[in-house]
């Protein structure tokens, strides 16, 4: 007892906890990345670098996909900042009616997996170019040009429709902090509304615009589903689809090199955004009595702008879902509203129909995928949040020089890593046996590990927010009673943080079950997941089945997300008048 007490006195408090979470993060995040890098630097395989970067193949292998990826990223970032910023301005700063509704709808698209939006796009705009039936427009006798049916344009539009919600959230939060006084001080000078907007409001929220833009950029360049569904049929490759293709055809080293390059590209742009942010002075507004922000009167533009905002919201949230529902019932997408049948949902296999495919609920794979997806979602949400709380406690209560920085960086890193590259890194490390441990490839453990690591940034972020809400004094008061670390976590921190934690669990769950990019490389027929199943159906041309499976995912995630929203309460400060 005395020896232990003596040892404790010499070691800094929380050292064990810090080292523990550091080791966990090293295994989950650092090790796979190191492995993928080391494997491509292996003397026998180092040739993959020159294959990719400087060989007759490299134009198609890397440069064209990289160019497409960049174009996609920049276009999506610009579009998201524009649309998200426009909606945020309307909701936060103006007297537009239905602000609450628009503010709610504008956060939803991010909850809808991008493959759902991509599939919905296909049901309307698909043309006969790559075989299979056309979409709704062709059925109505309108010829859809290839540029609108396939490739860059539809991919970009679908991704903007998905990611603008991110831009909206970031920008709306920033606009809400623009002190009402700042605007009033400008009004006192007699400046016009336009001048106040461009001279004061925009520059103050510029950091948020840049941050929102770079998040959308990172999301777009790492997205797999949209370019795979809308670009691949016409051979438009992005780095993520190329990387997927390489690994699928067994050219693993080239795939790994592409993964590293994709990580690099995304990192360079995020760093650039950070540079821009760091170059500016901190705009944290000086505290004081907040002051009610006066809303800009829209005047005559009120009607049209409201209509436009509602239109954007409906087209990106409810419309795709309705289209998917119709398309999962109609035998032909070209006549979306006739001949509806439940065959694609519950039909028996019938050689005369849908090439003998049974309805999804008669497909044993689907039922297995359903249970596995939900199970993995639950396990991952739990694991990620447990680690998230531990990391949060270590970071907020027991900061240690050196270690804490590493913990913080490592737990945030997966945020910057494109999901598909992350998947590749997990294959590289855990795909082969390590010492006495068996290879994990083809097991659900590998899926769970990779997804847990990918969810860490969210879990840590919410964990830190919840732990930070609980004042250190509360924990210290418990410490004075002699309660140990885990006792305090269980009796003090967890009960106090339970609401936020439960919401975080549910959101993690939603992210996991609608993820495609990470799992598309890791899945095997023995570990089917709903999102992969939907993707497989779609790439094999069974669109109705793909739509039906996507709807199953959507209904589960809507339930969970709705529950999370209820638990969170109305945590949208920009809606208060």
């Amino acid at each position: 007892m005395t020896a232990r007490a003596g040892l404790r006195a010499r070691l800094p408090a929380g050292l064990g906890l810090n080292l523990g979470v550091l080791a966990l993060l090293a295994l989950l995040v650092a090790a796979p990345l190191m492995t993928i890098l080391m494997q491509t630097l292996d003397p026998e395989r180092i040739g993959a670098w020159s294959d990719v970067l400087a060989s007759p193949l490299s134009r198609n292998l890397f440069w064209l996909p990289a160019l497409n990826t960049m174009a996609l990223g920049l276009g999506v970032a610009a579009g998201c900042v524009l649309i998200g910023g426009f909606l945020a301005w309307l909701v936060v700063m103006t007297d537009m009616p239905f602000r609450g509704l628009v503010g709610f709808l504008a956060t939803l698209p991010f909850m809808i997996p991008s493959f759902a939006t991509a599939l919905a796009w296909g049901t309307v705009f698909r043309n006969g170019r790559v075989g299979g039936g056309g979409g709704l427009l062709e059925g109505m006798g309108i010829a859809v040009p290839d540029a609108l049916a396939w490739g860059m344009t539809p991919t970009m539009i679908v991704l903007i429709a998905h990611y603008y919600a991110l831009g909206f959230t970031v920008i709306a939060a920033a606009l809400a902090t623009v002190n009402g006084d700042l605007v009033e001080a400008a009004q006192m000078t007699g400046a016009s509304r336009r001048r106040v907007l461009f001279g004061i409001v925009l520059p103050v929220v510029m950091p948020a615009l840049i941050a929102g833009g770079s998040l959308c950029f990172a999301g777009a360049v790492s997205n797999f589903a949209a370019p795979a569904l809308l670009g691949l049929p016409v051979r438009m490759q992005t780095l993520s689809t190329r990387l997927f293709g390489m690994i699928e055809i067994g050219q693993v080293e080239r795939g790994y090199v592409l993964a590293i390059l994709l990580i690099g590209l995304s990192a360079v742009f995020l760093a650039l955004g950070n540079r821009l942010l760091a170059g500016r002075r901190s705009f944290a507004t000086i505290s004081g009595k907040g002051g009610r922000a006066r809303r800009f009167a829209l005047g005559r533009a009120r009607g049209p702008l409201t209509a436009l905002a509602l239109l954007i919201c409906l087209v990106t949230t409810i419309l795709p879902i309705l289209l998917l529902i119709a398309a999962s019932l109609a035998p032909m997408a070209s006549s979306l509203f006739s001949g509806w049948t439940l065959h694609f949902w519950i039909g028996e296999a019938d050689p005369a129909f849908a090439r003998g495919q049974a309805g999804i609920f008669n497909n044993p794979q689907l039922l297995r995928a359903l249970t596995l997806t939900v199970a993995i979602g639950a396990v991952v949400a739990f694991l990620a949040n447990v680690i998230g709380i531990l990391v949060a406690v270590a970071l907020t209560r027991h900061r240690l020089r050196g270690i804490s920085e590493a913990v913080s960086q490592l737990s945030f890193l997966p945020m910057l890593l494109p999901g598909i590259a992350f998947g590749a890194a997990y294959i590289a490390l855990y795909g082969a046996p390590i010492g006495p441990l068996p290879a994990l490839y083809g097991t659900s453990v590998l899926l769970a590990l990779a997804l847990t690591a990918a969810m860490l940034p969210f879990a840590v972020q919410t964990g830190r927010a919840t732990v930070a809400q609980i004042s250190g004094d509360i924990d210290e008061a418990a410490r004075l009673t002699g309660a140990g670390f885990f006792r305090r976590i269980g009796a003090i921190t967890l009960p106090l943080a339970s609401r936020g934690l439960l919401a975080s669990l549910l959101l993690c769950f939603v992210n996991v079950i609608s993820d495609l990019a990470i799992v598309v490389l890791l899945y095997t027929p023995t570990t089917p997941l709903l999102s992969v199943l939907s993707y497989r159906y779609a790439s094999d041309g069974f669109h109705q089945f793909a739509n039906a499976v996507t709807l199953v995912i959507l209904s589960i995630s809507t339930l969970a997300a709705g529950l999370a929203t209820l638990l969170r309460g109305r945590n949208r400060p920009w809606l208060s008048s």
């Binding site: 009033e184 001080a185 009004q187 006192m188 000078t189 103050v204 002075r281 944290a284 004081g288 006066r294």
Partner: protein, 346 residues
């Protein structure tokens, strides 16, 4: 000259300000003084043009800037008035010089004129050396000076201040009080200043409107508030220390010490701390109290005791230890008498 006539403001049915009428001459320093929620900031914001009155009229000189009966409101920018916010509201993305310059740009002044005026304003407030810094890089006191420089650079005729010193520490506050008075004199403009700190009001104002519950309790020069408080509220609010309001019942202090000077009144008798003395022993005009605290002040001591649940303070020359029981000696007559509702009786 600023004139308010029957000014009123309701927020969704709640009456924030009602029936405010007062006039101050050109160059005056008007302080709106009162506890939080008394409507003083609402009046200031109506003067600035950031809120619209629901009743009454505001005139700057001969110009009506707001008239609720006509539904007329002049835009904030056209009123030739400047406002210093409690939060300072410096634009965080502009340097100090940029902050001072921006209003001049909006006013479409020429480059030379702008440079000269901005430099003059920054010189006057002693922030010229900070011109290239951003608001986030300077201290609270410096931000305050920049906010004032920004306000005076366009040379407004009306200077509005919304509790500008409340975020500063005590030493800086005293320093900035002097600074503000200097700026006010130098510009010759009319100032309206909102505060809950009666010391600020007493030191800076030429006119004070003491406010309570959206109404003016008393509108007078500072000395008159002290010498002649119009209500018990004002008597309790003003003075360092504030006067004692001792309960009287049917012409007797505490209902048991009859005094013809009270003229049979019921309510409160006002006894200033300097009129109250400490007695060595009980007497016909003394009452006993438990000692509560002793504060040394300007070479004398403020002795506060608790008498029948009532705090009573006297300015004394008491030396040595405080006795375990105090005896306060009442003056021959109270300075004022208030009825139970706080209205002045005499």
């Amino acid at each position: 000259m600023i004139t308010l006539s029957h000014l009123g403001k309701t927020f969704g049915g709640a009456q924030a300000v009602s029936d405010i009428s007062l006039t101050v001459p050109e160059g005056a320093f008007l302080v709106l003084l009162g506890p939080s929620g008394c409507g003083k900031t609402t009046i200031l914001r109506m003067l600035a043009g950031l809120e619209h009155p629901t009743a009454g009229e505001i005139r700057f000189g001969d110009t009506a800037v707001a008239d609720a009966s006509r539904g007329y409101v002049m835009e904030p920018g056209s009123r030739n008035a400047g406002l210093v916010f409690q939060s300072y509201a410096l634009w965080p993305h502009m340097t100090v010089a940029g902050n001072v310059d921006w209003p001049l740009r909006v006013a479409n002044l020429g480059r030379e004129e702008r440079r000269a005026r901005a430099a003059e304003a920054m010189e006057m407030l002693g922030v010229a050396g900070l011109a290239a810094r951003y608001p986030g890089e300077i201290s609270g006191g410096q931000q305050q000076r920049v906010a004032i420089a920004r306000m005076i650079a366009p040379r407004p005729r009306v200077l509005l201040f919304d509790e500008p010193l409340s975020n500063l520490d005590a030493t800086l506050r005293v320093e900035m009080r002097t600074e503000l008075m200097r700026v006010h004199r130098a510009t010759g403009a009319t100032a309206v200043y909102v505060t809950h700190d009666q010391i600020e009001a007493m030191t800076m104002a030429t006119h004070v409107a003491v406010m309570n519950g959206g109404r003016i309790e008393q509108f007078d020069p500072p000395e008159r508030l002290l010498s002649d408080p119009a209500s018990a509220f004002v008597a309790r609010f003003i003075g360092t220390p504030p006067a004692n309001l001792i309960p009287v019942q049917a012409g007797a202090w505490f209902g048991r010490m009859p005094d013809p000077a009270l003229r049979g009144a019921t309510g409160h008798g006002m006894v200033r701390a300097e009129d109250l003395a400490l007695a060595d022993a009980p007497g016909p005009d003394t009452f006993a109290a438990q000692p509560v605290e002793v504060v040394p002040m300007a070479g004398r001591r403020l002795v506060t005791g608790l008498a029948e649940g009532q705090r009573v303070t006297a300015v004394t020359d008491l030396a040595g230890p405080v006795p375990s029981e105090l005896h306060f000696r009442l003056p021959p007559a109270p300075a004022a008498i208030f009825d139970p509702k706080g209205n002045r009786l005499s």
